[in-house]
Amino acid sequence: MATTVKNRPDAVPRPAAGARRGRRPKGDAQSSRRLAAVLLSPTLLVLALVVGYPVIAGFRESLYSRGQQLDADGFVVEGERFVGLDNYTAVFSGDRGDAFWNAFYNTTFFTVTTVALETVIGVVMALIMHQAFRGRAFVRASILVPWAIPTAISGLLWRWIFQHDGVANAVLRQQVLWTADGLESKIAVIIAEVWKTSPFIGLLVLAGLQMIPREVYEAARVDGAGPLQRFWRITLPLVKPTLLVAVLFRMLDALRMFDLPAVLIGVNKDSVETLTMLSWFEANNVRYGSAAAYATILFVYIAVIAYLFVRLLGADIIGQAKQTGKQRQTRKKAKA
């Protein structure tokens, strides 16, 4: 889907605009640029208000501390104190440092395992949904059901499944304490998360599959390519841009996982504690500065991961900008 949207506007109006640009006087171009700025400003203003302001306000909060000291009568000393980076250094030191690295590990572990599993299962789902067979609409709809269930609700459903006398133990004929604090609870979270979000990747990949023209497969078949070869050589490369975007979205989502482990296993449990849960705990105990510090660290971590992902794997999240850049380059080359 992404490919068509991307190509069409580029292919048609670009040369026309380029041609016109040559004829127009300079002032005209400037005024059209100003018009664009005016037209875009409401969007930018809203973005600044709902994205920029909270990010900056959150960062500012993380430099302050309040209400952490008691006076002789047992009252909290009032007022905000500027503490510089103290909230950040506290995150990495002592007991809280251990808790941080544990949560950091959990967050990363959940992200890597769930996204890897979801990608494999999601692609398989997409391939199945893509086949023409009877009852295809029904299969598509049923695969999407988990994605349609709110996370907190699916957390509750899985908690029933994983409770000590629940379905999971009945099927396994074992007494596993899934929701106690241990490796079992990690596995429970991974299962529930993969169950819920594989359809998301499946859906996006299906959209990518539908964009691959039939002729390519026919040509490959004529050339004698087997089904596996067709998958590795044609399907996967052609669906890659969509797949990468889907994986990137899932990664960003998984890195701020909160509701599923919180509902399914519970808060304050080391084995499933994620970075967002640490931040939540601090905010809950009226240490907003420290909570903001955790949130900022998570924000930076997510930004770094997203950047590396885009850089290393070339996920085409800002495909259009890149393509225009390339076009300009080729045009320059042509001129030279």
């Binding site: 900056i56 009032e78 899934w178 304050n268 809950n284 009226v286």
Partner: protein, 432 residues
């Protein structure tokens, strides 16, 4: 075009700085912490969790009919206690006068009082002498009264009368050893197959803090002593926690208890799979409901929880009414609290909601005992009960207790080590 986002970011930054600068330097004179006069009359609000029975509205209607110029409006908060606390804190940090009378959980008093979010209540104007003394301590912080106890609660030992009778045990156990003896006798019966011996809340929730406090207080120990210093590295504290650890290790308490909350425990008891159950009194009515949900209707009774050498020290629950420091019409609020805490209102409330009263005399009231036969037992339990640690940073303290005790129960760390760790953590958390 590129300049535009920069400008808006700068504008946003300026906004951020001005907006946040405002609440930092608020004047401190308005906070009524010094026991100032409660003045002002007019309409007020009562902020509370869900009024499930509708009885709170009924009592408020009664007040409103008599005081048309000082009406009370109920503001209902979410069901989850932690969400209630969050909203009340938000109201306090913005110094809003929207909330007047706050319905506080007993463990929040210290935090709210220390932050000057509550107005001190005049002890000479409130009749606390007729209340059970233990409940009054839950409304106090450093010797001053900040909240009036309205309802109370305490743990009881639910036990299966039919099984004990068959096994030839005539009395409910008073000590832990007696309890284990009774279990062994019941285990030998054919009916005792598949019945777990004992259960108390040890899932990693607030229930675990209650359990740990009960075990430690029962041995004569304290989590935080009278001077406010943590005391969990004592032999008594270790003995208390070891009782729980061994109960799980020896199979007296099912290992699944580590994943059960209060309601999970109730299901277990109502399914007839439990001999002794430490539980809050609300289970009494529910387990006696004759609609097929309970298999133990008429087959159980309650007793005070056992301890090492005699009855144990149960933990206090319940709710207290306090006045927000930032509210208007505090005089009306005080009168309203007096009205709600009155014996007559408490009795009506108890009969309608099954919440236990704080007025001592009501525990001997025949009409009350007829409806709630466990009241005399509960009175004894509350008289002997202890409160959870009275600390300002209660949220951190309870999380630390849960963490260490849970690790000990799960066999992750030996009890001694867990208690030393906990002592260090609590020392850090209670040092001003």
């Amino acid at each position: 075009m590129r300049r535009t986002p920069l400008v808006s970011v700068l504008a946003g930054l300026a906004l951020a700085l001005t907006a946040c600068g405002g609440d930092g330097d608020g004047d401190t004179t308005t906070a009524g912490s010094g026991g100032g006069e409660l003045t002002g009359r007019g309409p007020i609000t009562l902020v509370s969790g869900k009024d499930r029975s509708g009885n709170m509205q009924k009592m408020v209607d009664g007040w409103n009919a008599a005081h048309p110029n000082e009406t009370v409006r109920i503001i209902e908060l979410p069901d989850e206690p932690n969400d209630q606390r969050q909203q009340m804190i938000q109201n306090a940090t913005t110094r809003s006068d929207a909330y007047t009378v706050l319905n506080l959980d007993v463990v929040w008093t210290a935090e709210f009082a220390a932050n000057r979010w509550l107005a001190e209540l005049p002890k000479n104007q409130l009749d606390t002498a007729k209340l059970l003394p233990a409940t009054v301590t839950t409304g106090e912080y450093r010797g001053r009264l900040y909240a009036m106890p309205l309802t109370s609660d305490s743990g009881l030992l639910f036990y299966r009368t039919d099984l004990l009778k068959k096994a030839g045990v005539s009395e409910p156990p008073k000590t832990w050893a007696e309890m284990w003896d009774a279990c062994d006798k019941v285990k030998k019966l054919p009916e005792g197959k598949g019945v777990d011996c004992y259960l108390t809340e040890v899932g990693k929730t607030e229930g675990l803090t209650v359990t740990a406090a009960e075990a430690i207080n029962s041995t004569g120990g304290n989590i935080v002593d009278a001077s406010g210093k943590p005391a969990v590295n004592t032999p008594q504290a270790k003995e208390g926690v070891d009782f729980l650890v061994n109960a799980i290790k020896d199979g007296r308490m099912p290992k699944a208890a580590l994943t059960l909350d209060g309601e999970g425990g109730r299901r277990h008891f109502q399914a007839g799979k439990l001999l002794f159950h430490r539980q809050w009194p609300y289970q009494y009515g529910l387990a006696n409901t004759d609609d097929g949900s309970s298999k133990v209707v008429g087959k159980f009774a309650v007793a005070p929880i056992p301890g090492p050498n005699g009855p144990g020290a149960a933990n206090l629950g319940g709710h207290n009414y306090a006045i927000s420091a930032f509210a208007k019409n505090k005089a009306t609020a005080l009168d309203f609290i007096k009205y709600m805490a009155d014996e007559k209102q408490q009795k009506a409330n108890s009969l309608a909601t099954s919440q236990a009263p704080t007025v001592a005399a009501l525990y001997d009231d025949p009409e009350m005992i007829k409806k709630y036969p466990y009241l005399p037992t509960l009175k004894a339990a509350i008289q002997n009960a202890k409160s959870r640690p009275v600390v300002v940073r209660y949220g951190d303290v309870t999380a630390a207790i849960q963490g260490s005790v849970y690790d000990a129960l799960g066999g992750k760390t030996p009890t001694g080590q867990a208690m030393t760790d906990l002592q260090n953590k609590l020392t850090e958390l209670t040092t001003p």
